[in-house]
Subunit: 215 residues, 2 copies
Amino acid sequence: MVTVPPLSPTERSRVRRHRDRQRSDRAELHAVLDEALVAHLGRVVDGEPVVLPTLHVRVGETLYLHGSSGAASLRGDEPVCVTVTLLDGLVYARRWFTQSANYRSAVVRGHARPVTDPDEAVVALRALVTHVAPGQEEHAEPPSRKELAATGLIAVALDEASVKTRSGPPGDGDDVAAGDHRWAGVVHLETRVTGVTTCPALPADTPVPAHVPTG
Amino acid sequence: MVTVPPLSPTERSRVRRHRDRQRSDRAELHAVLDEALVAHLGRVVDGEPVVLPTLHVRVGETLYLHGSSGAASLRGDEPVCVTVTLLDGLVYARRWFTQSANYRSAVVRGHARPVTDPDEAVVALRALVTHVAPGQEEHAEPPSRKELAATGLIAVALDEASVKTRSGPPGDGDDVAAGDHRWAGVVHLETRVTGVTTCPALPADTPVPAHVPTG
């Protein structure tokens, strides 16, 4: 077992609402980042916020973002916020007011570091492929030098981060004792593989390798 | 059929990379916003970006955000960016470089308008409940005046928005003609209901109403 340091949220990264939903466990931060397939990268452009989706992967205490979605244009040391959300369920409450969602989210604040070292870029890109498509890092071709240069990865240190979660039943359970017997509960959600489509450039009977989930 | 005006992205909301992935169809913007269950709200706080997840709903050409996750603290007319992403699949390519994801995303840029009119707030909150839990708006109790005041909805006009999508097979199909016959394709993803848990404050045999999806 690896002992991980606790998260050390600064004053500004404290969870302000529903503090009971904050988790100060670095392992939980890792788990949320590792399970999520999409991150939302926030930047400030001309004084205004811009949020774009991107692929990400965690390697140790560094978060890498794929250089698509504008990430490639990030200036070195530019402040960023990377947020990842897993929606676990919808909370059907007795009141509109207590309607909610069960989720786990991680908010990472830091500064963008463009990855310029080719060795680091290969490690990060391999991790990224492994993260979104486990096994594909062996099946597919590593990047050429030209491809590597065109990838534009950025790194963000996991120094300042917070995790917030909600789980469990609706918050208005006391209404039952007060005589409200209408149904309430949680509808559980999951992202699932529903099937595979083989690339049409290939013969249709090309076998799907064992590492590819088929649903 | 309703004719909708085309999106009119300003210079700054143009899609810069992969312009072929931009869609200038307002109906597609609506479809992405209406299908997504979670939005990511970007703000600028002390000059730095902050991105938080929130529930949202579209009503006509207005996007409403639930006043949780810090949205309640938004200043009137504060610039915001609201981004919604639907992950449709993972693209297993022949090369790390062409590894990708199929998705539909909408990026809305505008200014936050706190909803202060109680009539508008009720309409927006009903729409929000209907969006995440269809049928629950009738089953559950509308808000008291006190609950309504505590909800803190914000509105963003859908004046400046862009939609970007990727679909279809890996982009490296030409590699097949070049002699690379290893498998590549798309793994399709879907968010699905996997089950329901009745609120433990209720008798366990309380029937689940017909409007609640059970998986």
